[in-house]
Symmetry: C2
Subunit: 345 residues, 2 copies
DNA sequence: AACCAAAATGAGCACGTGAACATTTGACAA
DNA sequence: TTGTCAAATGTTCACGTGCTCATTTTGGTT
């Protein structure tokens, strides 16, 4: 306990020079001990460590960085942490950072309107970071012409490729391609799609994946239903779908592809309330695999993104030496549970 | 566009000295322009700004911090970002940080076992931070004897008071006190409590709040049911409760207090599956208000924590000049929906 | 004892900045 | 023109560190 409350001169913590003076060695020897370099006698090392302990020595970050050049930290600019996907990505980034003994310096862009990448980049670059990851969940107005700060590797989380920065995202398009094919293979040629809000880029790519896949299979797409990601909006669309099913006829859908799990949950609730069975009457699939632990008896067939993988790749691209610019789409995995029935033959 | 791709010597970005040379002024004048100090001719200022633009000047963070002392950044050590509560708190912290033009430097503690506060503090303190917030969601083994790093204001997110650090948390104890009284006031003197896992501190405080409140009201507490926060564990407990209700008798419960919303959801599902009605046969309340948008027709009466408020207070305590040490418990708000029935009289 | 190589330690510089202090410039009144 | 004073600009120093290079010490061999 002793030596913990010592008043350090001037409010700053002790410097290596003071430790050196107390231990009776040179400052350089202290530096060697701190950095774990060889060529220090065990006896000397102990004396220095004791002095460090006594003074509560904290290596000055600025001094080290000024000399060494690296901050061992990457910047992360987030638009909206609350969104589930962003959170898991953040976790992937944090995990990779920990493995490399990096810290993550975060800033959040406020307001509701999409921010310019240049603004985020400028704010971030005045911080001690070795690289940066910019999250862009709505379309940034300056996406095409954005030029990253020289000397700071910049990675953008986006489905779109960029001429000067590596971009990374879950393969939103491919996810719906996969799910649509999955439903087609199970005999569901008449399906409904419940989209997310128009403003969301993910939503647009998911919709395109669904529409294009149907097109490639020469199946006509029924008019799309639009929700807002919430379970209640899914419920509302589910009521419409239930009416179509109950009305019968050749146009009656046999399956629903919802652009996220919450909406899928709403759709299922509406169908069941209308007296229909899932999957006996209608099959339903969602996207995100976000209901784990949240809902009892979760049985929704859905798609899981490798968001931690996205975070990990983003981190590695941000600190990587390779100057190659790539557009990486991380594939997702189908999670088969029991809301889809095979109606072939 | 011009001047954006210039090769900076040695990989480092241009220094103020180089800007000064190009602009034909002294380095100090550049410094004055950068920091917006007065006493610079408009003509000179323009020349300097042009030179900065041309060289892509980025003020060296380390140099400035070395001289100035402040990093305008606070450290945040998180145990598990994924937990819903932690996320909202993080958001509160980020928002407050943005208002003060601070960045947040995060590190995550890995592994499953509770980490020592001293470890987190040591790892954090070697980063450029002016203060730090330590999140402690399980009991840290060194909580009582922990001594914060000198010169770095340290705030702990915890229900327990600490002799040397300000602590802040949502009032977990008070939350269950409030809900228990709420149920009692509505005539439910026979209620069941579905607790979270034993390892969780929040869970322990919630349980104590429930138990003590019943004690103060001289009402006997029925044996506690233990879940693990998940909806499925709530469902399992709900089945037991349904059996008790259907068995009838004076010991049959009329209400359930679940320690979080997911478990409450599971309880409701089990009760309804057993043919019981909520709230006509049994009233149910949860805690967290975490189901918004996630579940269709959310009607759960629950309690909302002011997690953003917690984050904001934590940030302000971490950068505050006041050296007073407090234990702050942020109160929560009852969210009345329709899963509780008044059965008085 | 004398010598030598290797290990341990020390001295000095450079990093880029802000502040205190010193100097120059420019405008205006006498 | 000259003197005066404030504004503008320049000079020097210190911040705390890591690296390079110089010096001292150690331990073993002849």
């Amino acid at each position: 306990m002793e030596g913990m409350d010592q008043q350090t001169r001037n409010g700053r913590s002790a410097s290596a020079a003071e430790v050196a003076a107390l231990a009776g060695v040179s400052r350089q020897t202290v530096s060697r001990v701190v950095n774990g370099m060889p060529n220090v006698t065990e006896k000397t090392r102990k004396r220095v460590l004791a002095a460090m302990e006594e003074l509560g020595f904290r290596p000055n970050f600025a001094g080290a960085a000024l000399r060494g050049g690296s901050y061992r930290s990457i910047g992360l600019c987030m638009y909206n942490i609350t969104r589930v996907g962003n959170l898991a990505t953040l976790e992937g980034i944090m995990q990779a950072a920990r493995e490399h003994d990096f810290a993550v310096t975060m800033i959040e862009m406020g307001g509701d309107k999409p921010y310019a990448l240049a603004d985020a980049s400028r704010r971030m670059v005045e911080r001690p970071v070795d690289g940066m990851i910019l999250n862009m969940n709505r379309m940034a107005p300056d996406f095409e012409e954005f030029v990253p700060q020289p000397g700071v590797r910049t990675v953008i989380l986006s489905m779109y490729a960029h001429p000067r920065c590596t971009t990374i995202d879950s393969d939103q398009y491919g996810s719906c391609e996969l799910l649509t094919n999955y439903l087609l293979e199970h005999g569901h040629s008449n399906m409904r799609f419940v989209a997310g809000p128009e403003t969301s880029i993910s939503s647009r790519f998911r919709e395109a994946g669904w529409r294009d896949t149907l097109g490639r299979a020469h199946v006509d797409a029924a008019p799309m239903l639009r929700g807002d990601w919430s379970a209640d909006s899914g419920y509302a669309m589910g009521e419409r779908i239930a009416a179509e099913v109950l009305a019968g006829g050749s146009q009656a859908p046999t399956a629903v592809l919802a652009a996220n799990d919450q909406m899928a949950l709403g759709v299922i609730a509406a169908l069941e309330n209308a007296g229909l069975s899932v999957p006996d009457d209608v099959s339903v699939v969602g996207i995100d695999d976000a209901l784990e632990g949240l809902v009892p008896h979760n049985r929704l067939t859905t798609l899981r993104f490798d968001l931690r993988g996205v975070g990990k790749l983003a981190f590695e691209a941000a600190i990587g030496e390779s100057s190659s610019i790539e557009a990486i789409h991380v594939p997702s995995t189908l999670v088969e549970r029991s809301t889809v029935r095979d109606i072939r033959g």
